[in-house]
Amino acid sequence: MSDLRELYQEVILDHAKKPRNFHTMPDSARAADGHNPLCGDRLRVFVRVENGVIQDISFTGSGCAISTASASMMTEALKGKSLADAQAVFESFHDLLTTGNHADKDEELLGKLAVFGGVREFPVRVKCATLPWHTLQAALQGSAAPVKTE
């Protein structure tokens, strides 16, 4: 097995223990629920968009270290980004976790999120890392149905 330290990097553990932007938002924000039935992770992502820019983004819920850190770092990475940029980050992040193919442009887009590269070696955990991102997409699309990983 690949080194556990690749998976549980310091940054990830730090965000898991002290999640950032971990709060609800007023009703005016868009929100969606994500659920991973396999491990019981449940989270809600809130997002406020103005003029095509993510003005504010936060989350609540309970989950494993990987999903919590992913949600926390997602909120930090995307706050202030345009929707188009956010989509590009999402796609790079997704590639990082699933195919491992990423170009230099992705490095730039991903920034700190690159620490999630280690998750790729743990296939059952990939869904933990992507759940917050899929949930955000649902919130942006105004989808009422909860996001499920299975």
């Binding site: 097995m1 556990l4 549980y8 553990l13 491990c39 019981g40 992770d41 494993c64 270290a65 933990c128």
Partner: protein, 425 residues
């Protein structure tokens, strides 16, 4: 199974058990998979409540069937087919013996506990449960003993009632008695909880159900591998289990149903093997159990299951149970010494299942880190979301022991948990 007997054998400092004492070292060699490594380490397989490993005897019985006995059953006049038919029926009788049913016609082969419960819900439930009738389940049920009843209840307008549990994970029997009433048609309860290990007093519960005029179904998926089963002593009307949890293959399981009840039930699926005569106007059905075994059954699975029951009987469930209880005590003692670890489910009468949570790590992370140490446990809700809701937790980590597990396996788990602490502290 006599609950009181089980309790009395657990008194500490009891005199040495009658010889020959069971030692897993004598039988670990029977299980090819226990010799493999996982992530380069010795495999500590502690997910026996999900499925058990298979001894060579079971693998050999199935290989032998395909190598030299394979033919369809109940169909050919040739030697191979009659032999396969005989072997299949001998397997059925082996099951009857194992759970001490009175009549071999009370044993229906199905895919597993899930299919057995669905069969009862659709066939017996469809004809006997009406609008306003009640079915009593418990908080401890596996989803497979909830969803089929929910589907039935929705179809016919029946009502589900749920026996609550106390903080230790034991059923509240006074509440159960209050739930029973003349509208109760069925009580469907698990014998042993897969999520917490609680052993339920099924004899007493069946007696109460019958006194209220209801039938009783016992889900034996988790009890059959650990406790001697006597369906006549339990006096239940239905008893179900899966072969794969008792060292048998996947895809084979058993429905036991009391003879008059089973004979009166309409077929579950239609097809070959379950009929007497077929015309386009009308079909007459074969008597039970064939009536409930439409199509070519899992013949090799039935033979594999029979071999598994032989194997278990050869060791003896009393010895297995006694050994597992000691190992459970050893494991619980070691685990309770870990700071921040809480065992969920502390029933006085408990099978070798330990569900736990750590204050500093999510079960899913615990599972991944333990996996790296060669320790296979289950994490999640264990198909028992109502149990998780009862404790207000999303998931637990669960180590479930079998007779082939050793103290070394438990020590490996404990060491693995040290590693979890290392990562998260």
């Amino acid at each position: 199974m006599a609950v009181t007997t089980v309790k009395s054998t657990r008194t500490p400092k009891a005199p040495a058990p009658p010889a020959p004492a069971f030692s897993p070292d004598d039988i670990r060699g029977d299980f090819p998979i226990l010799q493999i490594t996982s992530h380069g380490r010795r495999l500590a397989y502690l997910d026996n409540a999900a499925t058990s490993q298979k001894p060579q005897a079971v693998i050999a019985a199935m290989t032998r069937f395909y190598n030299s006995q394979n033919a369809n059953i109940h169909r050919g006049v040739y030697e191979l087919s009659t032999q396969a038919t005989a072997a299949y029926e001998i397997a059925r009788d082996r099951v009857r013996q194992f759970i001490n049913a009175a009549d071999v016609r009370e044993i229906v082969f199905v895919r597993g506990a899930t299919e057995a419960i669905n069969l009862v819900a659709a066939s017996w439930g469809g004809t006997n449960v009406r609008s306003g009738d009640e079915i009593i389940l418990s908080t401890l049920e596996h989803h497979s003993n909830i969803v089929p009843w929910q589907m039935l209840a929705q179809r016919v307008g029946a009502v589900l009632r749920v026996i609550p549990i106390n903080d230790a994970g034991e059923l509240c029997l006074e509440q159960y008695e209050k739930l029973l009433n003349p509208r109760t048609r069925l009580v469907a309860i698990t014998h042993v909880s897969n999520a917490l290990g609680t052993i339920n007093p099924v004899r007493q519960m069946v007696r109460l159900a019958h006194a209220a005029g209801a039938l009783a179904l016992v889900d034996g998926a988790q009890s059959v591998p650990h406790l001697p089963i006597d369906v006549r002593a339990i006096d239940c009307d239905f008893f179900v289990f899966s072969g794969h949890k008792i060292c048998g293959p996947t895809g084979i399981g058993v429905l036991y149903a009391r003879q008059p009840i089973l004979q009166a039930m309409p077929p579950y699926q239609g097809g070959g093997d379950m009929i007497e005569t077929v015309t386009f106007d009308q079909t007459t059905y074969a008597p039970a159990p064939q009536k409930f075994e439409a199509g070519t059954p899992n013949i090799s699975g039935a033979l594999g299951l029979a071999a598994a029951l032989d194997y278990i009987t050869g060791i003896g469930l009393d010895r297995i149970g006694g050994y597992e209880r000691q190992l459970l005590l050893y494991a619980q003692e070691k685990l309770t010494r870990i700071k921040g670890l809480k065992i969920v489910g502390t029933a006085a009468d408990k099978a070798a299942v330990i569900s736990f949570v750590l204050s500093y790590a999510h079960p899913h992370d615990v599972g991944t880190i333990l996996d790296g140490q060669g320790v296979a446990i289950r994490t999640g809700h264990h198909c028992c979301q109502p149990v998780m809701d009862r404790y207000g937790i999303p998931a637990t980590a669960r180590a479930s022991l079998a007779f082939y597990n050793t103290r070394e396996d438990v020590d490996q788990l404990v060491l693995g948990l040290e590693k979890v602490k290392e990562v998260f502290h």
